[in-house]
Symmetry: C2
């Protein structure tokens, strides 16, 4: 069952908005055995949308459209769908009722533009949008299906989960997607590939191994289609894990922060962070996990050295002697935050994230990370790049990995 | 000058990775007058890549490929380019030298897989990758250009900035892209569209107005192609600003945190945050701006109530009486963090981000925000949705907007 996604919107082409919708849809669909074969992004342009639909129908059984269904003039998806399926708009009372109920909940007065959202193409089946005013539209064409959804992420996600995916599951028989994921750390991509060369050559037909290098680690994905290949997959999985050895950090697809959360929960540990250069990002990553409050107590973001001294009691003299980006300072920060916030574990980071700052000996990209667990601590220095955004992410990854490895597998 | 982007990688289709590359490229290219007309994402599949190239060449003058050029077996872009341009690989000594210099800098031993990256298609022109081992490959076909780059964001960005964009600027004459951006707050999309209806109808031919609703605000984009339309654009811009009135927060495309940073710098103010439910995300947003250290002092992330009491001196009795998600608590938090960190401004947030938690009167999605500026403070309650990730982002947006409006235009 092949699916194509068409993302509509000039804002995606000019890069004002990142296409997170397509990634989310790809993840949800693949997990359920739908094979996403392509994503096409086009602007708010009727001809471009028509052409994209045509091509997608050639390659796939299901075409999922998002975007271009708002009440404003620049949104032309509905008109284009009428053009493509040679039909006209007609007023739909159920859609109007839905819009009215949403507006009354939000305490907003209905205006003409919003009321116009109740016009839908004649030969479409309507799914009510429970969290927004633009209806979800379904079209059938020779056994193939096209579904148009809003581009607003929350509305798209709600429709996908509650309506679109169940509908697709009922109409098509999804294939069985087998996937094993691995998180590997402490080895380069090419060294890893060399180690796995024979394994890869001996992979059964239809199995594939993909390498996904990220900041500070590599993800591997072993995959195949078809339920009948379950036993083979199991054997390959065992072999691969043996080959990965000590470099294997996790045998699943969870984020670093989810792995850390699971580990802390299992070991019944609590954590706090003391952050200089990551400026709260590390705490954000940890608290992005639902239920993090059971192990995360808090963070002291000491961007300013005075805050390091007053709230984290870092020795003023130490900062003057060796600088805030130093082993001594991150060790004191990690120790003090664990003490103040009463946690078993802590992470402290201090570095120059750029683009400005740094010194001759410690250029932009120098970062010290200290992780603490009970009374043991590990401090390490790293050299990241020159892009601020990437440096912050990379530093957070390395910090979480350092603590994960300290806590053991 | 029309550009198409082809993003290659199974990880993009299955949603393991979000396609941030295409957005970045779209932004950089549009700013320089290149018209990005489409983005196609395909898997690591030779036939799919061939077809995508074919279609892109039909629609555009320049085709930019990213991904699939690593040293591992799953990367097949180079072989596919040979197939497409009917050529073979040949060894390139300059590429080998580049790889060797990169490996020696990183203190890693060269292995066969990495050495193989020095094989390039015979009829391609090679651009050295200064920050990675995969070469950038350029092909010419009947006045049209295809350039293949690595998918690693940092490598792609470096090549784009330093080599690819200058090359395109020299070979093609970019058009002139005129754009005005507006950030609007405190009005629904349809109410705004109603207010702007006449303005939109009277827009000169070739001008377009786009609406981009985001969490807590709307962005508007007025655009046109061609230097000759500069004066018209100026007039439209003046008219539009008048119509936006008090709802206009900014007349540019800057992020909320960049706007806040600029404002704080201009007014010579400092800021701190006290965060419960956003868990450091607000501090992260503020510190994502280079040079934030000149106004941001730090944050106390008090996820645990005990941390609220001990570090932020929130009254224990208040928490017991009215709960941590309350006006009283966020006011105390905002006051105390400004006092402890010695800042003129502060933001405090406390809420239930979900999916679990909340009470009958205060369900998941309830969030209190207090902003403080000198001795004035504003506290407001909001109701966000049920998705944790979106709630955190929305809360941060509303908090920054609240302070921005408090500081005045």
């Amino acid at each position: 069952m092949r699916v194509e996604i068409i993302s509509i919107g000039d804002e995606l082409l000019i890069g004002q908005v990142v296409n997170t919708n397509a990634a989310w849809m790809g993840r949800e669909l693949t997990q359920r055995g739908f094979n996403v074969v392509g994503v096409t992004t086009v602007g708010d342009n009727s001809d471009a949308i028509m052409k994209a639909i045509d091509l997608s129908f050639q390659r796939a059984d299901v075409v999922l459209l998002t975007g271009g269904v708002g009440p404003t003039k620049d949104d032309i998806t509905k008109q284009t769908l009428c053009r493509y399926f040679r039909t006209n708009l007609e007023f739909n009372d159920d859609v109007l009722k839905n819009i009215e109920s949403i507006f009354s909940k939000r305490n907003i007065q209905l205006n003409l533009l919003t009321r116009n959202q109740a016009y839908v193409p004649k030969n479409s089946t309507v799914i009510q949008n429970r969290v927004g005013t633009a209806p979800i539209l379904c079209f059938n064409q020779g056994g193939k299906v096209l579904i148009s959804m809003p581009g607003v992420p929350f509305e798209m996600k709600t429709s996908m989960r509650e309506e679109v995916i169940p509908l697709l599951q009922a109409q098509f028989l999804p294939e069985y997607y087998l996937k094993c994921s691995y998180l590997v750390c402490g080895i380069t991509e090419s060294a890893l590939a060399t180690r796995l060369a024979t394994f890869e050559e001996q992979l059964p037909l239809g199995f594939s191994l993909a390498y996904l290098p990220a900041y500070g680690y590599i993800r591997l994905r072993l995959s195949a289609w078809g339920k009948s290949r379950k036993l083979e997959m199991k054997n390959m999985d065992i072999k691969l894990k043996q080959l990965l050895g000590n470099e294997l950090v996790a045998d699943n697809d969870q984020s670093l922060e989810a792995l850390l959360g699971e580990k802390l929960r299992t070991l019944n540990l609590s954590i706090s962070t003391a952050e200089s250069c990551t400026g709260g990002y590390l705490a954000h990553r940890i608290t992005s996990i639902a239920g993090a409050s059971s192990y995360f107590k808090g963070s002291i973001v000491s961007y300013d050295n005075q805050v390091k001294e007053e709230l984290l009691h870092v020795d003023k003299q130490t900062i003057e002697n060796v600088g805030a980006v130093s082993q001594e300072v991150v060790e004191q920060m990690a120790e003090q935050v664990a003490f103040t916030l009463k946690t078993n574990c802590s992470i402290a980071v201090s570095g120059f994230m750029g683009p400005d700052g740094g010194t001759l000996e410690k250029p932009v990209g120098t970062v010290w990370i200290c992780t603490r667990f009970n009374n043991k601590k590990i401090a390490a220095v790293h050299r990241v790049g020159s892009s601020r955004e990437e440096n912050i992410k990379r530093t957070a990854n390395m910090a979480i990995l350092q603590l994960l490895r300290m806590l053991g597998r």
